[in-house]
Symmetry: C2
Subunit: 406 residues, 2 copies
């Protein structure tokens, strides 16, 4: 946790992955991010994976380092409190990050009446406001038809909610752009982004739209092979798998050197009348290349491969399950300064990640766990909205706000 | 293309996806992004997909809206020119975005001697500086073992370079954070980020590390089913596929209403002694639920499903190949203000995406195509480095710089 964004206060009204992940990155960079939720938890509060006791490790993962405000959003007074909080005074305040429909009290127009220079960043599913989630966007943008074993006739969904995560980071970026404008020109604004647009921007960026429109070609599925270069998975002596990649000619040379296959590959090259200095030729002849390499991989354990490959700076990686990643990879341990062992109340002590960004070698502070739902309700009512103890007590009695469950 | 970042000048020394995609987003928001490349093109200049003439639609996709400076980086004078460009004066200048190793003239220390308040954002593969690319990171972080058909015993790589794209947006975010600090405090800094850390931050965020450490469970592969809720693919009457999702109880109700299955599902619920108001119960009994739904999907075309589902705001999406996306989806056309038909010299006219972010309803400018390699060399030498025509001519004669290929 850095303090590079100290002084910014962002109110987050959110659920699921995109908005919370953007807000969390800003919190981990030092912004004060207040997430408000319905008393008892919003729609994502109990999402899987959960502990045997039913506590969501999904929710805690996505809300680290935030403050939590629990409020009855179905009540007029609860909504009024949220609107006050979003538009409360302060130089770095007046910023609202949300993926809720921007209607009623949550509309930009309505909130802007309370604070003229409000910055509101709103995430939608589709641009027209209709619903879309990562899975319903992903199926539409082509990737499932090129993902998975090439023997398969069916599309394969990704499991990583990639569009959500990309969208979250873009949302954080858009928020900082708007804050930059406000600090220079004084004016706030509404920033909008749609999950489907994030996916289509990416598909366009990676050449798929041009390929479809200019070449009129449909990309085919090539299993675990890398497109346009040499890269694929190989089975090792003990039956594990590694990924070996050679994009640059230098990487190609390192790979062959490490396996002692320079000479043999030269003969293959001559036989095929190919030029393996070219990335495209290495891609086109990847099946033959792989069959020449396979015996070597089959004769080596992952540890032997690691020794041989690391000595030559080969671009490679072992396949690891989530548990193998956690149990065996030193990058995923406290040896990596990004990680700390942190106690998450109600769940236990586990490895939590601070931001992957490093700022000027500055000391990383502690990684903060997720708040309990409503943990900061009273603090926020007192400090940010200036309510007295008596007023806060009344709100509790009326069921408009709640503290953490005891 | 917006002008919200007008006045920022970023010099980009980059290749592949992560750094160029971050730089491109900043360019599309109005920053002046100058990408320098080896004369003739860097390592990624000819990457697939390419046109029949061998022009890379990958490179153009990733470098839209930038200026291009072509220089001989192997020559002392060429490197000197780049160092001058990176550290040239100007309030919004002095920002260097790169995924090249920060060594020699490209080290932060060396460049900082020329401009004290330099901001340098450097992307690495692994935190320790060793090589890693999207494919060698992805295999290590667990997802390939939960992606793909559940009948498959082999890991399935994702094809979308998700880690690269996420890393690119985080990099842009880190750059803006450092620029914010500089504009407030006057000091520049080195910002670093590693691709492997981006992936592990995400894996931690999505609960996989907690699940492995607290529950000691290995997530199993569930094909195209959504984890923790009801969502999966169905085959339609004409043999196409759609994804149908019900995360919230409201979405679940809409889905059943649209299919006329409320009553039948009630009977299933009773039979299983389940409570389908609970997300977890819908997930656990997804196979039975799906088998009750399948006949309905088999009896409907995609168009019929669209009509029935859109009327009830069901969360769903059709599976589309890249060509189907481009040919059939109005969201991926000029009906969507994010897209414009743009001529990319040397390739042709195709659909290009401006940024998915919208700023305050401001008018979107034109989407700019990618530059030709060296297109802005002379302009940059004259305007940014203040060289005379004679000096520029000498640099060309000496082969230190190059303009666009004729």
């Amino acid at each position: 946790m850095f303090d590079v964004l100290k002084g910014l206060r962002i109110v987050e009204g959110s659920a699921f992955v995109a908005a919370p992940s953007g807000g969390m990155m800003l919190a981990q960079l030092g912004a004060d991010v207040i997430r408000f939720d319905q008393i008892g938890g919003g729609i994502d509060h109990d999402r899987w994976p959960v502990t045997p006791e039913g506590r969501s490790m999904y929710w805690t993962g996505l809300n680290k380092g935030k403050r939590s405000f629990a409020v009855d959003l179905r009540s007029e007074r609860g909504r009024e409190l949220c609107a006050e909080l979003v538009t409360a005074p302060g130089d770095g305040a007046g910023i609202f990050l949300s993926n809720f429909p921007a209607r009623g009290w949550m509309s930009y127009e309505s909130l802007k009446e309370r604070r003229e220079d409000l910055i509101m960043v709103n995430i939608k599913g589709n641009r027209d406001g209709t619903t879309a989630v990562d899975y319903t966007v992903n199926c539409a943008v082509g990737y499932p038809f090129v993902t998975g074993p090439d023997s398969s006739a069916s599309p394969a969904n990704h499991v990583l909610p990639a569009w959500d995560v990309i969208c979250g980071q873009m949302t954080a970026l858009g928020l900082l752009v708007a804050e930059r404008t406000r600090s220079r020109e004084g004016s706030g604004q509404l920033v909008e982004i749609a999950l489907a647009d994030v996916a289509m921007w990416t598909v366009a960026m990676l050449g798929h739209i041009a390929e479809a429109q200019i070449n009129r070609e449909e990309r085919s599925r090539i299993g675990n092979d890398m497109y346009g270069a040499f890269g694929r998975d190989f089975v090792t002596k003990e039956g594990r798998r590694v990924m070996a990649v050679a994009i640059s000619f230098k990487q190609w040379q390192s790979l062959l050197d490490a396996m002692g296959l320079q000479e043999k590959m030269k003969r293959v090259e001559e036989l095929l009348e190919a030029d393996f200095r070219k990335e495209g030729d290495r891609f086109e002849h990847r099946a033959v290349i792989a069959s020449v390499m396979e015996p070597w991989f089959r004769s080596q354990t992952v540890d032997q491969i690691r020794t041989a490959f690391d000595a030559r700076s080969v671009c490679w990686g072992p396949y690891q399950t989530f548990r193998q990643l956690v149990d065996e990879d030193p990058r995923c341990s406290v040896e990596n300064p990004m990680f700390q062992m942190v106690d998450q109340p109600g769940i236990g002590r586990y490895l939590m990640a601070g931001p992957p960004l490093d700022f000027g070698g500055a000391e990383r502070g502690e990684v903060a766990p997720a708040p309990a739902l409503g943990e900061h309700t009273d603090q926020i009512l007192a400090d940010e909205l200036g309510l007295s103890s008596a007023e806060i007590g009344e709100l509790h009695d009326a069921g408009v706000v709640a503290g953490p469950e005891s």
